[in-house]
């Protein structure tokens, strides 16, 4: 039988939480997850999380939107059925382009914003009606919770207590 247990340490204050994280880092004990009611500054560094690449994705989406803008305007206005509209030069896209700046820009922003948000939801595995991902409802109010998956429960408990944890729960994995 495995001795692996899940330990939840619940702090009342974000500063204590940060201390805790640092303490565990020193001891080299891996923290499985941290749940906080608000973004605690420095936490991601403390946990050594890699910088998210979601903004890079946004850039690609923007480029994609721009391409759509260019294609649509070129196809409808200059290729498929070029008309003489108020004498504006519809011979080729280059001549006509200044008139298309606004829609192209809007399409760019549109794609970037929406597709980025979608990416965000997908990467977080979030969707309408998804069951709460936080084990303890208090973590969206005013509690800060660390989650460990460990065999060495006592060590974890000890450090938690040292760093002024408020409450500790242990569960079987």
């Amino acid at each position: 039988m495995s001795t692996t247990k899940i330990v939840f340490g619940i702090y009342a204050d974000d500063d204590d939480l940060l201390n805790g994280v640092h303490a565990f880092n020193e001891k080299g004990i891996a923290i499985n997850e941290v749940y906080t009611p608000f973004p605690v500054h420095g936490l991601d560094k403390a946990l050594g999380l890699r910088k998210t690449r979601i903004s890079d994705a946004a850039f690609m989406y923007a480029v994609y939107g721009l391409c759509i803008g260019v294609t649509v305007t070129w196809y409808t206005m200059n290729h498929d059925w070029a008309q003489n509209i108020g004498g504006k030069p519809s011979f080729d896209w280059g001549h006509n382009m200044p008139a298309f700046v606004v829609p192209m820009f809007e399409l760019m922003v549109f794609c970037a914003a929406h597709m980025m948000s979608l990416t965000f939801l997908i990467r977080n595995k979030m969707y309408p009606g998804c069951p709460p991902q936080n084990p303890d409802p208090r973590t969206t109010d005013d509690k800060f919770m660390m989650e460990f998956v460990t065999d060495n429960v006592d060590a974890v408990k000890q450090i938690l207590i040292d760093t002024g944890v408020e409450e500790i729960n242990v569960k079987d994995a």
């Binding site: 008309q83 003489n84 509209i85 108020g86 004498g87 504006k88 030069p89 001549h95």
Partner: protein, 1045 residues
Amino acid sequence: MVNVIINNKKLEVSMASNKIQFRSIHELKDPSLNGKLALKEFQSEIPVDELLRGDQSNESGTSRRNFLKLLGFSTAAVTLAACEAPVIKTIPYVVKPHEIIPGIPNYYASTYFDGYDFASVLVKTREGRPIKIEPNPMANALGKTNARAQAAVLSLYDNDKVKQPKLNGKDDTFDSVDDFVLKGISQAQAAGKKIVVLSHSFPSPTFKKLFADFKTKYPSAELVTYDAVPHSAALDAAQEVFGQRALPVYDLSKTQLVVSFQADFLGDYNGASLETSYGAARKPGPNMLRHIQIESNLSLTGANADTRVQLKPSAVNKVLIEVYNGLNGGTVSKEAGEIVKELQAKGSNAVVFADGSKGAFVLAHLINQKLASSALTGKANFLKEFDGAKYKEFLGWMSSGQVGVLIANNVNPIYSSNKGEDFRKALEKVACVVAITDKKNEMYKAAKAVIPVANWLESWGDFAPQTGVYTLMQPTIQKIYKSRQIEDSLLVWMNGKGNPANNYYDYLKANAATLIGGTTFNKALYNGVIAGGNTSGISYTGGNAQQAITELSSFKSADLELVLYTKTAIGDGTQANNPWLQELPDPITRLSWDNYLTVSPGDAEKLGLNNDLNARMQLGGSIVNLTVNGVTIKDVPVFVQPGQADGSFGLALGYGKKDSGKVAETGVNAYPLFDGSNSILSNVKIEKTGGDHEFAGMQLQNTLMGRYEIAREVPLDTFLNVKFDDEKLGWNKPLEYHTIGGAMPAGKIDLWDAFDDTDGPHFNLSVDLNSCTGCGACVIACQAENNVPVVGKEEVRMSRDMFWLRIDRYYSTDIPANVDLNKDGKLSQEEAISADLNVPGMYGHFLDKKSGILNHPANNPDVIFQPVMCQHCNHAPCETVCPVAATSHGKQGQNQMAYNRCIGTRYCANNCPYKVRRFNWFTYNLNDKFDFNQNNDLGRMVLNPDVVVRTRGVMEKCSMCIQMTQNTILEAKKEGRTIKDGEFTTACVNACPTTALKFGDMNDKNSEIRALFSTNRRYTLLEEIGTKPNVFYHTKVRNRKENNV
């Protein structure tokens, strides 16, 4: 055979034969199946029940599923209903008439004569319906159409017409009516009473002959002429001067000076307009016609004058007398003296017109005789036949009960004379009154027997309008109702019923042969007009000046005098029930749907009468009761008219017809003031009543606000002696912009590469402000050609008129002495500001002097007319802003409008600097709120099948009659030839009697339009905006020294 594919089912519609195709054995068994299927094709009502039954039809009641279904369905249904198009069944010819090819118009030469107007015309018919009246080029001046002639085709489809012969007020047959009349005639003969045919002027040789035959059959028969506006003074004068009751025919094309006293010779003075020759003589040049007008009302003619003197009638008479005396060596006052000098200088190249009483006409004739005026052609005009004496005699017979039978041919003295009531009473003494009438009017009510008039488009006839001219009238459509022209009736009453000779066509043909000389009847019919008819001319035989002068001087001058006039649109009121004419704005006042008392600003102030504008810039006016010689007309609205002579009023005849249809009811009836001879009345009294009349005005801003470059004009001297682009004095300097590369002509500066429009035609339209008299024929022509709806008084008042082509009218403003004007002699806004003349009011009404000098028309303003239609800009502001590209530019230069793509954002109309786009605010057809011709099946027969009727919510505008130009191109293609210059045309260009409008192909190297484009009078409207229009204008030239007189 035409294959129509509907819902993927193929119906075979057989056009030229009556054989039935069966597609299956079942149809053969049950022929009606075909029809049933056809019905299914166009199922219009929404099959809710079927849908609800759906798959579980066994379920009873509405289940939840059904409810939800219905919910969803109803939403869908609403959406569908919105875009559901009505299905109209069309019936193909069973046996096609050989001369009719569906889709191809036929033109027939005919003569338009309704007892008031006369014109030799071409009638355009489509599938057997007359839809348009065009001028007959073979008839020259007589072939020109004015607004009323253009609109006459709609009067054919008047839904308020009498549709049935009637006897004693009940619908009945011709047969019994004839019995009744024949009985009446025999009784009259037995009693030795007269049989009177009372008709409007009827210059038809064959009708005359017919009546002569009638009289030989019935010796007691009499033909009496009655006209609402009879020109009797003119005829009496002619009787005296020329020895015959015929008006002289004038030709102004060689004339260099016209002096007109009250004579509205561009209107219906002299029975026929002089516009054509006037327009020809007005071509700018050393010998350009100079036009002096001395008048009381501001008439259309006066508006075109170079020098206009406004005096009240009595004063006008004085000047006329003085001018006569002056020419005969008498002593004269200053202004009369100047006129005399000018007349003497021009000698035989001058002509004088006068209107009013007999004396005025006589003097004018004698002056012309004295001048040996070349404007008199020696020809006679036979269009007007009224004889006051004869008519008076007839009234005597009637009141003394000597008339046994009265056949009233389309006349209504009860409405149109000051003795209406007496006439009605006298009628009671006539045993047999037959009214040949087209309206349920007073005569209709008074008559025992009623015969509907056959419209001129349904009738045969011939006319001798003037010396040596003979025209024919032919039916262009089967009689729409049970109507019969008077000639046919007379034949029946003459020959008895069922006589084979009762056929006016044969009778006409036989008689015409004697009048048309060599040519065959059909040839004559084909041309519509040929030489022949009455060949007797006209020449001076006498004339008593002294008598005339005494008569003129006997006209008592009073503080307030009244001039009755006829309007450009309504004339004597014959077509008062024609919505096109009622909506056509008066060229001077720009008001539609009304007549009113025109009052000078001075008098208005004195008498406490006013016009005011409300927050929608809608015009309101005081209301007065008008009393002349004991006769009172109640509730006459007042319009303050710049250019109206102080001490004089004007009031139009022909309005306020109570029993001639809804449309004709508008306005007040002025005939009770009109004794048939004197249109000028003295000792007029008015009393202001409460209340404010609501006018429907097209244009409420009357001046150019100093924007003279919009409607340009130049004095003749400047035009002749100064280069148009002269550095300092140039009167039509091309617009230049100062660019980095120096001064550049505006046309050359362009942000974009131009599109190539060199292959195929590129259309331009030229508008000559100098020839445009503002007659409005083009406006009606446009309305008829392009199915432009009538919107009615309320909507016009809301500034929601639908005219594709409008004629703007601007008044000049007074220029105070203390301003030093720039070279163009016009007071510009900048000058007004710098001269600190209580600044140009932006919004004020012209009555309100405080509202700014530029806003306030001169007391005797110059008038300039400017037709404005879509300018078909090559850089059209409207096109760029349409989100759905519903309007874009055609290769031929048109700014095209795709109605069924339009979503109605109205952005294009906002962005149009010329404001020529018109929006369909409501549904104007088949809508009882707009109960005009497009709301009944009959009225819709006038619609032009080549032009779509626009739906609610779309924008519309001038298309440069693309359906006409395309047709020209296709015809040429079929015949495999190139198009000659002048073949391309539009409705407005066709209608213009003075050739002010010209149309053509700029890519045709030697086309007239190209020549016009390169003349020095040419300018572009609002050129600085850079819209590069395909319409251009020509500066007006005023034939006088100074800019302001």
